[in-house]
Amino acid sequence: MKRFLLFLLLSSAVLAQSKDDQICLDCHGDKTLTTNRNGKEFSLFVNGKSFASSVHEEVSCTGCHSDVDPSNLPHNEKLEKVNCATCHEQPVQHYERSLHGQAYKKGKSLAPTCATCHGKHDILSSKNTKARTYVMNIPSLCGQCHKDGTPVSGLSTVSERKVLNEYSESIHGEGLFKRGLIVTAVCTSCHTSHDILPHENQFSSINRNNIVKTCLQCHRQIETVHQKVINGKLWENQPHKIPVCIECHAPHKVRRVFYTDSYPDDMCMKCHSNKDLYKVVDGKKVSLFVNLTEFKGSVHTVNSCVKCHTNVNQAKNPVCKTSGKVDCSICHQSQVEDYNISIHGQKHYGGDKSAPYCVDCHSSHNVQSKKAVNSPTFARNVPELCGKCHREGKNIGMAIDEHDKGIVASYKESIHGKGLLQSGLMVTATCVDCHSSHKELPFKDPRSTVNRNNISATCAQCHLGIYEKFKVSIHSSEVNKTDKKLPVCNDCHFSHEINRVDQKDFRQDIIQKCGKCHEDVTETYFDTFHGKVTKLGSAGAAKCYDCHGSHEILPAGNPKSMLSRKNIIETCRTCHPNSNRKFVGYLTHATHHDKERYPVLFYTFWAMVSLLTGTFLFFGVHTLLWFPRALKERKRLRAKIKESEESHE
């Protein structure tokens, strides 16, 4: 098959050769045809066969050598240089502004021209596997000059010296050479074929601002892989904000590993390992010492310095001068966005020096994972971390100290605090679980996780089962379309002083809590046995939620309610095992003051009151009359006794 194709190609080429070209070949087909240029013998031989198989076969000799008139031979001995731009306008334009073209213009002898890469009369299509510009051949084509030991590699202006070696070991080179992947990146894929510019040039395909676009030609979906890093379009839209591809993936050594080459950490540590290094900000010394041991133990140890300190600049001395504050959003975009919204962020950017910034909680070089036991952000350490500011004695603590003990102290005694600090449960809620770790906002802010409208969802992060019950209860705004204020979790369960519900204090307090809204029924509750013994301190006596339910509370008219006709006997049975249909007719909120609703009780009460009043009135009068009379009688009796005693004597 191959042979047949070759034959076809050759025969057609021969046939196709125009008559004019044949005329040129009459002379130039002679291998001995030479001329003398700059004192050197220069062959003028043109291989007709290879020309016939070149891409320019259809273009006659005069198509390029336009200053030759075949009808007027022999032509001038010195022909003009072929202008490829006649046909290849854009590539030549690019070439002319490229490094190669500029060098050529300056007369550098090593500078390549079109022919250096493409050849002259034997130019093949880059799709032709034999072409020098065929993708498989590009590294060796470029490598002719850009490999170790060539005159070009010796030039002081060329920084990458072992390009070809390094490339062939890179993932791209491996793909090309070892796996024969012709879609892999070769020199021209990144540097372009003709528009080869130094990376400092803003139009260069390998300029810091363009490199991402260049890599994205092939690595189209790379953003999804790097979602954590860039989370969005930062790479394309704000490349200056984040590290670009080559800062992690060294250009010619591209591997699946990070590199530390361009600004190696060693370079930074030359200065920053000095404990006395400092800068002066607002007249204050700020240490610039970096504890490398600490950093090595940090969660950022895999990162090079410049991955965070992105604004280093080769033009400055030192390169890090005025590089400014680290922008953590480079990697932790969502967290920083949250922080910017938070009250911490608002105050920080508003110039409040006491407001914490990223490093105040996470520290700078010693950043630890929140899973590390010693990390300040480890669950168990969070209350103390927040307590650095939110504690009695600290300004901030005083300002928002809602209860008498202070937030941290109250929290420690709460069920959450006890769970965390006494029972050692790391899944228990700490400050950040309710207030969020980065988007802390005052509860009045509608965006706050602890705002009335959001608190249920916040608690639901852990207490989902409860939340699902609550959502269908009469207290849920989804069920109850009322203008009245509906309760949310922390109306019954205090925020920082949150208690176990089976403990006496909570059971006693709940009446006050329900009573905040249900004042009338709370009063009547206290008129009945349950309420009365509760007032005497009985934790066991039925409380509001023992009958009405707590989170799933529904009006008694609802068949699902614990108090519906269907369920009430069972509900009472939790305490009264022999509860029956008549028994549940007991009026738990009865009052004898309501004539309309409870006439029987009303009249019974007033009958009793009449009986009491009547009896007391009768005997009151009786006694009042008796007393003065009995006093007189006493005198008379005494006198009589005296008399009889005297008579005895």
Partner: protein, 282 residues
Amino acid sequence: MSENLPKGKYYERFDAYSRFLHLLIITSFISLAITGMIIKFSGVGIFQFLSDMLGGYAVTGFIHRFAAVITFIYFALHIFYLIRKKKQKKISFTYFFKGENSLVPNKKDLEELWQTTKWFVGKAPRPQYGRWTYWEKFDYWAVFWGVAVIGFSGLLLWFPEFFTSIGLPGWLINVATIIHSDEALLAVGFIFTYHFFNTHFRPDKFPIDTVIFTGKVHIDELKEDRPREYEQIMQNEELLEKFGDAPSPLLVKVARIFGFTALAIGISLVILIIYSMIFLYQ
């Protein structure tokens, strides 16, 4: 006057059985009153304090029920006493209900009430009271009625599940609560004020009449206090047998200590109740 002279200066007005029953009444009634008022006025700090002092609602609840059982016991013992007495002395029903010493109110009581009122205002001499004055009969029937009413409503509250299971409606428990509570208030209020005054604090008996503990009353006092009974005794040989020596000083001392304690508790409780009612309804 009978030919037979009394054997001593002291007449035994109450036999040991009756005195023992009254002891039971005093102790159980005071217990019921305190523990009951604690729950009736559970919203008042002083009663909450009292509850805590006694060991909390669970203890007071137990005391209340225990004293209730005592009440039922003395009620039964009293009925038993009446039946036995009727049989022993072969008293006819007519005499039992209408006789001289019957506790059943009669026409004479009304007359005595009218006479007493006149005596109060100085328009008549002191009536010739017999064994039981009308206010003593009232006291007796108040307890009789009280034990029945408070007792039954109390049982309803004690065993609501049982009583509703035999068909009583649930709201009757609410009614029982009102009746139990207010009837108790009546009983406590009455006993600790009028009974105390009528029996102990009235100027001719002040500060205490120990007859219910010692059982014995001085002949002069009896003659002065209940002339009609005195006459009746003097004409009855059997009754003259009941005269004897003065009660032992020790018994009198114990009786006075016990009596004063009961009186003090009762008065204190009444003060607390009045305070609470002003406090609650202000």
